[in-house]
């Protein structure tokens, strides 16, 4: 990091490449600052007449100071997610206003084969660099478009990552607020490596930033119970409470119909690859945004999720998968449990399908989501979605929710009715790629004399 910096790339003349070969991070930072300065100058001169703003001088490019790095001994991956100010400073245009968030990725490949970074793994709806550039130009301004596009292309991460090389650049993702789960999938011939990194984004708040589930010890080491016996684990899962509660624990809410086994390296990459993203914490700003969105029918990807309680605390993590608009999303709340399964974290949660927004007097925000009363459908939908994630290893079903027939539905805390067969899905993830034929059904409720057979008999 303390090498002299008299490198030809650092002379700024044409040194706008973000791809480096065995050049230190320090060089990259210097070059980027240099590039940014020139880019800003360039923009001021040539495209000042468009809506491009000049980057604020006061914004330090701090994103390289909070780089998160992971390595498996062969490949090292470093990432940093840019704040709105940083992305304006680097790109010269307000990407965040268009819902675009650059993620800086550096891959050091110490293998003997070339790797390819797969952007759809980081965000299935990511923005190609040229498309993001298009967001700031109009088709009739070909000159402006050309310059912007070139700049975006130079900043973009470029494949492949040759053997022995280090390559860095940006992937443009949909905006996350607070923190971001950055999934780096790397493919080579007959090889696949996957790294998940939880990155902070300054200037935002989010559910799990507040909960710090990945970084803070929620439980003392002696509180954990590690299950290695399948039957004992199954019994423990069946003994969990049926449902979430309100804050005081006096009323039952949505059923706890989901158990996820896995952590940052296996379960969450699978969720991200299929478009699941963290939600914004419920605070007044996002509530205003959501209620506005509810009236206009527009897609607001960060509709907040209200707090529900388990283990005497609100959810540790809330994720959602938006479809066409705010009314159509599936969402889940997860709590880290004091259980382990073969050493892996066990999350207990609740999943439901939002099919619309309705008014309610049971929420201080006066609006809430109408959930599909067939809550088992949402549970099944997630299981199927995860089957395509290349990360799902095992599926099991356990009792514990308690059946509520359609003729006598139960109600959640906002008086939405739901019915259920009373089972909870157990999804066990693996960091090694699993195709559809590799998925194993656990011989629990899903097999002999269990849930499936009962369903069939019915």
């Amino acid at each position: 990091m303390d090498k002299p910096i008299h490198h030809p790339y650092l002379q700024c003349s044409g040194g706008m490449q973000t791809v480096t070969h065995l050049i230190s991070v320090y060089y990259s930072v210097q070059r980027l600052v240099c590039f940014t300065f020139f880019a800003a100058m360039f923009f001021f001169v040539f495209v000042g007449c468009t809506s491009v703003s000049q980057p604020p001088e006061s914004v330090p490019l701090n994103y390289k100071k909070r780089v998160n790095t992971r390595s498996d001994g062969v490949v090292r991956v470093s990432t940093s997610v840019l704040s709105a100010d940083e992305s304006l400073a680097v790109y010269g245009v307000p990407l965040a206003k268009k819902g675009i968030q650059p993620v800086w990725v550096e891959v050091e490949n110490r293998d003997k084969i070339a790797y390819w970074l797969l952007s759809p793994g980081m965000d299935p709806n990511f923005f190609p660099a040229s498309e993001a550039a298009d967001a700031f130009t109009s088709p009739d301004k070909a000159n402006v478009r050309g310059e912007l596009e070139q700049r975006f292309a130079e900043l973009a991460f470029r494949n492949p990552i040759p053997a022995g090389a280090t390559v860095a650049g940006f992937v443009l993702t949909n905006l996350d607020e607070g923190a971001k789960l950055v999934q780096v999938d790397l493919i080579a011939s007959g090889e696949f490596r996957s790294f998940a990194i939880l990155a902070d984004i300054p200037g935002f708040r989010a559910d799990y930033e507040a909960r710090e589930v990945f970084t803070r010890d929620i439980y003392a080491a002696e509180d954990f119970i590690d299950y290695t016996d399948d039957n004992a684990f199954r019994t423990a899962l069946e003994s969990l409470p049926c449902c979430v509660t309100n804050k005081s624990g006096t009323n039952d809410g949505d059923p706890l119909n989901l158990v996820i086994v896995g952590g940052l390296d296996d379960a969450f990459p699978a969720l991200i690859r299929r478009g699941w993203r963290p939600t914004e914490q419920t605070w007044s700003g996002s509530v205003i945004k959501m209620t506005t969105s509810a009236l206009s029918g527009e897609r607001y990807p960060y509709a907040p999720i209200s707090p529900l309680y388990l283990y005497e605390r609100p959810q540790d993590l809330a994720l959602q998968k938006a479809r066409d608009n705010v009314h159509q999303r599936n969402h889940m709340r997860l709590w880290l449990s004091p259980m382990r399964y073969h050493g892996e974290p066990v999350w207990v949660g609740q999943i439901s399908r939002d099919i619309g927004t309705r008014l309610t007097i049971h929420s201080p925000y006066l609006t809430t989501h109408k959930i599909d009363p067939d809550v088992d459908e949402a549970r099944t939908a997630l299981t199927e979605d995860m089957a395509y994630s290349q990360g799902l290893a095992k599926i099991g079903m356990v009792k514990g929710v308690g059946a509520a027939p359609r003729s006598a539905p139960r109600q959640n805390l906002t008086t939405d009715p739901y019915f259920t067969d009373g089972a909870r899905s157990v999804l066990i993830f693996d960091s090694r790629p699993k195709s559809l034929t590799d998925i194993e059904f656990l011989p629990w409720e899903t097999r002999e004399k269990g849930f499936i057979e009962r369903t069939i008999r019915q």
Partner: protein, 421 residues
């Protein structure tokens, strides 16, 4: 098809509240009409007509039949026009003659499918609790139900986003350590019968092909394919042919479907000609709200590789991409055609249907400073490569994909990244 009929846009908004004033109007209407909520459950449902036109296939002792419901069908079966709400109902029957229980993975048929009660909810009216409950119960009973027991036949409807002209139906049936995949091509009854998919299958049948067995010779033949499309008169050069796909058409089509592509051709797609004809099929991936993100135009090529069909493909995306309003903007090819080609590869890697990947020359390089002309005054630049994707019957794990060491092309790509050329 004209621009105004762009088919992806209509699936956008199923929810009627577009603005505060519309909301108020709707509330007023609902209050006025609530007293006479008139949904009635159909008294007798006859599936014989649907069954008669269903397409059927048998794979590994499982027989699948499926048909897309017309507006008339959905009115007859549901007592309501589901198709009007941006939902395409598909009738499915699975006859399981294996010895194990199977699950139909709806997420494979449509990653954004609708649940029966979600569809039902859009027909609810205010202050009509009894009727709403009956709608729920009725719709739910029509939905397809898992699992499918050994020896059993399961019939039901799945609620998908609309495909036009022909529905490329991907059905994945999952058992213990086993996947039974189906790809069916279903006519969409409300649409004018088409060219598209049926044309591809007929085209494959009638195309005279040269068979290649050796990889090197096949590769050389791919490099000799035309660089680009032309206009109808073959007087002007069109968009570059930057992708080759090799494999069974069903495997290729279903991989696209699993990644959210839908068949949808626009008028300007048909200006591009290869082998003296319009594209045999055009598909698109839409962004949120149905905005076109890219296009994929495909032609059956007059060669085969080890018995498998070969397709030449043009992949591109419009200037503006998902940030444009497709109603008002004319679609023009974005000059950076390599980017969209590379991203198509990445997308298809996650489909579980891409087995091998290679690159060949044949397009001819054009630099950003000296871009090449295409039709409609479009310009583009390219490294001159075409991606060659060998598609296989799903599923493939990401760790099993082979990248072919077709030098010097791959090395050139690496050099370009290192800036060392």
């Amino acid at each position: 098809m004209t621009k105004g009929e762009y088919p992806l846009a209509e699936s956008v908004t199923r929810w009627p509240f577009q603005s505060g004033s519309v909301l108020l109007t709707i509330i007023a209407c609902v209050l006025a009409l609530a007293g006479c909520a008139t949904w009635q459950a159909p008294t007798e449902i006859d599936y014989s007509e649907i069954r008669a036109r269903a397409i059927t296939a048998t794979v590994q002792k499982v027989t699948l039949s499926a048909a897309v419901l017309s507006t008339r069908d959905s009115q007859r079966i549901f007592g309501a026009n589901i198709n009007e709400t941006g939902v395409q109902p598909v009738w499915i029957e699975v006859k399981n003659q294996t010895e194990q229980t199977l699950w139909l993975l709806q997420a494979g048929t449509d990653p954004d499918y609708f649940s029966p009660l979600e569809v039902a909810w859009s027909f609810h009216t205010a202050f009509a609790g009894g009727t709403n409950a009956r709608i729920d119960e009725y719709f739910d009973a029509r939905g397809f139900k898992n699992p499918i027991a050994p020896g059993a036949t399961q019939t039901g409807i799945i609620f998908t986003n609309p495909h036009h002209k022909t529905r490329l139906l991907n059905v994945d049936l999952l058992g213990q350590g086993k996947l039974i995949p189906f790809t069916l091509f279903l006519p969409v009854p409300d649409d004018v019968p088409e060219t598209g998919v049926l044309n591809v299958l007929q085209r494959i049948a009638i195309t005279e092909t040269v068979e290649y067995q050796e990889e090197d010779r096949f590769r050389a033949a791919l490099e000799q394919m035309p660089c680009c499309a032309t206009d109808a008169e073959q007087t002007s050069i069109g968009d570059p042919l930057n992708v080759i796909m090799v494999g069974d058409f069903a495997d290729i089509a279903s991989a696209f479907v699993r990644r959210g592509y839908r068949q949808a051709a626009l008028e300007f797609d048909y200006t591009q000609h290869v082998f003296g004809r319009e594209p045999d099929i055009v598909a698109r991936k839409s962004g949120q709200g149905g905005v076109p993100a890219n296009w994929m135009r495909m032609w059956v090529a007059p060669l085969r590789y080890r018995g498998q069909s070969v397709f030449v493909v043009q992949v591109g995306r419009p200037v503006g991409g998902r940030f444009t309003d497709n109603e008002s903007t004319e679609l023009i090819l974005h000059p950076n055609v390599d980017e969209v080609r590379n991203l198509l590869i990445q997308d298809l890697l996650y489909s579980g249907g891409l087995g091998k990947l290679g690159f060949v020359t044949g397009v001819g390089a054009a630099s950003p400073t000296q871009p090449r002309n295409s039709l409609e005054k479009a310009l583009y630049y390219t490294d001159g490569l075409r991606a060659v994707m060998f598609m296989v019957t799903r599923p493939v794990a990401l760790s099993d994909v082979q990248i072919l060491e077709w030098d010097p092309v791959l090395k050139d790509l690496e050099k370009a990244v290192l800036g060392a050329e």
